[in-house]
């Protein structure tokens, strides 16, 4: 069996790639995808812990995270469409005013 620490390391690497994506990219859509990547990295460690502790609670948490992610994507993309309609850009450096 693959040891737990391998899964946790893979999860840490994927999470860090997501953090890099949020920090270095200016396209709000790609930043949003990086956030999805971070959520998935955490899901991987939930499932790994649930496997190695012989408990299904971790998988239930993954289920809840997926439902929250679906709601988050729907609302987030609606906000992005709203911003694009007002400012005609998806570059976060140009979106610097709370008042349109």
């Amino acid at each position: 069996m693959v040891p737990l620490s391998y899964y946790l390391l893979l999860s840490a690497v994927l999470f860090s790639i997501g953090v890099v994506g949020v920090l270095i990219r200016r396209n709000v859509l790609i930043m949003f995808m990086s956030i999805e990547l971070m959520l998935n990295a955490v899901n991987l460690s939930f499932v790994a812990f649930s496997r190695f502790l012989d408990s299904l609670e971790g998988q239930v948490f993954v289920f809840l995270v997926m439902a929250v992610a679906a709601a988050e994507v729907a609302v987030g993309l609606a906000i992005i469409i709203c911003i694009f309609r007002n400012k005609a850009t998806v570059n976060v450096d140009e979106i610097n005013l709370m008042k349109g």
């Binding site: 391998y6 893979l10 860090s16 790639i17 953090v19 200016r26 995808m33 998935n40 993309l77 610097n96």
Partner: protein
């Protein structure tokens, strides 16, 4: 065999995750993100979580990424500017801190041993009653209340998305 599959899925997942954040085109990023999700589904199967693997493909690679690709194509954003960051040294300082963060996480995962109360669902027990049935018996007994709350959250998400994306009159 399991290790080989783990290495293949893990390497493809990391490589496509890197492609997500380096590609200049948002559609290419979205497609590589779908590949990452498929690799994660493979890893879930290796971890005896077949139901979660199916959900990963249906909900993430299906529903969520279709929404992403739809919005990317709707907005027609074009290529991103390479230069002109508002914050100076944003990339380099960000990379330094992420590397430090990764070292911290890696040292924690390698040094700390997992000690916890072990549950009743060993691989053998889950195989006997079936993964989906075992999962459902936990979800609909101990976690019924969060499950109901999730339905309210999804309703709020639907209404919020419609209200936000509606054209102002």
């Amino acid at each position: 065999m399991e290790l080989v599959l783990f290495v293949i899925f893990g390497a493809v997942a990391v490589a496509s995750a890197i492609m997500v954040i380096v590609s200049r085109n948002a559609v290419v990023s979205a497609l590589f993100l779908i590949l990452t999700f498929f690799c994660l589904a493979g890893l879930y199967v290796l971890l005896n979580a077949q139901f979660i693997a199916a959900l990963q493909i249906i909900v993430y690679a299906g529903a969520i990424m279709v929404l992403f690709v739809f919005v990317v194509m709707l907005l027609r954003t074009g290529k991103e500017a390479r230069r002109g960051y508002r914050l100076i040294f944003q990339k380099s300082i960000g990379m330094i801190f992420v590397v430090l963060f990764l070292l911290l996480l890696g040292s924690i995962t390698l040094m700390v041993a997992v000690t916890g109360m072990r549950g009743p669902y060993t691989a053998e027990a889950v195989r006997n009653i079936g993964n989906t049935q075992a999962f459902a018996s936990v979800l609909f007994t101990d976690y019924l209340y969060p499950f109901e709350i999730i339905s309210v959250l999804l309703l709020v998400g639907i209404i919020g998305a419609v209200v936000l994306a509606k054209k102002k009159r």
